[in-house]
């Protein structure tokens, strides 16, 4: 599991996750991810290159969204329609965290 951070236009921090976001992967990214959500206010989490998502990964995303939301910031997920997206929807995350199919839609949501 890899995590890369990039600052993009609009004051948005893009967090790109790659690989299997399983229990093992979630344990690896939990600490760096928590640091980002604590420091930044507009965050796009790109799951396009994530091939697998487990409940522990959802916990990491949900805790992150709660932290950002709690300080008046925004967190959006970028995720194409696939099994990872189905896991997010089954877990009810689509009602809590905005999930966008394209980077431009995610950017527009974060800038609004």
């Amino acid at each position: 599991m890899d995590i890369a951070v990039e600052e993009i236009a609009g004051g948005i921090t893009k967090v790109v996750l790659r690989g299997r976001f399983d229990t093992t992967g979630a344990v690896v990214v939990e600490l760096p991810f928590n640091k980002i959500v604590t420091e930044k206010r507009k965050i796009m989490v790109d799951l396009s290159a994530v091939s697998f998502l487990a409940s522990y990964a959802i916990r990491v995303l949900l805790v992150g969204a709660k932290i950002v939301n709690g300080k008046g910031g925004k967190l959006a997920i970028l995720c194409p329609e696939n099994n990872v997206s189905k896991v997010l929807k089954t877990a009810g995350m689509d009602a809590l965290i905005p999930i966008h199919r394209t980077e431009s839609a995610a950017t527009a949501a974060l800038e609004s």
Binding site: R20, D22, T23, A54, N83, T90, I97
Partner: protein
């Protein structure tokens, strides 16, 4: 019921074992399992085994977790047996939908995911072991759309 193909993996209650489990499923699923079924199988087994590892025993107690897979025509059957404390996931109620992000409860999603991604789930306690049987019907597209 004819069993065409079966395989067995024995794990300890250590989170590092989840990687071994994932590799094993991937090898197995490479043989004529659709990508969607392979994903559902990997997700359900990861969640089930992670639950046993995290909650099945007191910290220093050793557990044995046995995972078996078999294919029967268009159906895959996965069985997870463990020597941990009795736990019936089929009796766990589905999580309540949260009204807002602030109110959303963290955790308790694993069993809900298993119930949603498997075609069927049955539990029995036998000879001091938990035994969970998960069924995946290849012909039936789960959660399509």
């Amino acid at each position: 019921m004819s069993t065409l193909d079966a395989r067995r993996l024995v794990l300890r209650n250590d989170l590092a074992e989840l990687q071994r489990l994932a590799g094993w499923i991937e090898d197995w699923a490479r043989r004529d399992v659709s990508p969607d079924t392979s994903f559902a199988l990997a997700l359900c087994l990861e969640e089930t085994v992670a639950n046993v590892i995290m909650y099945g025993a007191a910290e220093h107690d050793r557990l044995e977790i046995v995972v078996e897979l078999e294919r029967n025509g268009g159906t895959l059957v996965a069985r997870v047996e463990d020597t941990g404390r009795p736990f019936d996931p089929t009796r766990v109620p589905p999580p309540a939908a949260a009204a807002s992000l602030a109110e959303a409860k963290v955790g308790d999603l694993g069993i809900h995911l298993v119930r949603s991604f498997a075609s069927g789930m049955t539990y029995e306690r036998r000879n001091g072991r938990n035994r969970l049987t998960l069924r995946f019907d290849e012909s039936q597209a789960r959660l399509s759309g």
